[in-house]
Point group: C2
Chain length 136, copies 2
DNA sequence: CAGCATCCCGAGGGATACTG
DNA sequence: CAGTATCCCTCGGGATGCTG
């Protein structure tokens, strides 16, 4: 039996486009793409626990470049996940703190990260099995 | 008060590297990076509802290229999230079906997607406010 | 129908050096 | 300390054409 296109699946709450899906205008991916960056989750994870200053974050995530740290923090701030507070000391210090919106995001997000950590062995095993089958 | 580096935050279950974090060897991001692709979530979303054939997925996600559809499906299969079953009809038909592992991933993942859909207005608002403040 | 092969481009992100 | 500015390069992903 051929089940054509059926009705378009959607659980986004909002449809992505009018005729099916349009990833370009999809509100879900508009949000997801930002937190899918290489460093976003790491920083969210850190700031979910407590506020940190720039240099502290740098030390916490050793292999991030200043460029990416700055940029990622700015993006997260722009999307309203974290707040940036400058203390006019000398030399100046800047503290980053997660907002309520950020925490509300991190709640479901942390579940996925948890899943990833827990199931990593299963995924690795699946990959290996798959790769073995390919070298026929 | 200066709260140095404190102990390294971690909720990954597994530490990422031994001295703090190492994104390169982080098991969490090893998993996350794959589902963070442009199309992975869309396809997982579709296949979480029911099995689909190649062409059906193509129609469901109109703006994906065959190249990316094939590649993303293979990656998802490789990581054990979906199964691929070939029916030797003529012309051949191939069905993709979500595995138990895939469903267990999609459970927490769907919460994040839901969040993204729900809070999208808040994020948009935050962006606009941020951008206004910048053009001083 | 369900792919694979090839060409190509832009964005994400690394390295390095400089500043208030 | 907390950034900004440049250069550079990988690679995710789009477009097109061919096959079993």
């Amino acid at each position: 039996m051929d089940l054509h296109a059926a009705e378009k699946p959607h659980l986004n709450g909002k449809e992505c486009g009018t005729s099916g899906w349009d990833a370009g205008n999809c509100p879900v991916r508009d949000v997801i793409d930002r937190i899918a960056g290489k460093w976003s989750t790491l920083l969210l994870e850190a700031l979910a626990r407590q506020p940190y200053r720039f240099g502290e974050l740098r030390r916490l995530v050793p292999d991030i470049s200043q460029r990416m740290l700055t940029q990622t923090l700015r993006d997260l701030q722009r999307d309203g996940y974290i707040d940036r507070q400058v203390f006019p000391t000398k030399p100046p210090s800047v503290e980053y703190r997660m907002t309520a919106l950020g925490h509300s995001l991190f709640e479901p997000l942390s579940k996925v990260l948890q899943w990833a950590g827990d199931k990593h062995p299963a995924v690795k095993a699946a990959r290996q099995k798959f790769d073995e089958g390919e070298l026929s």
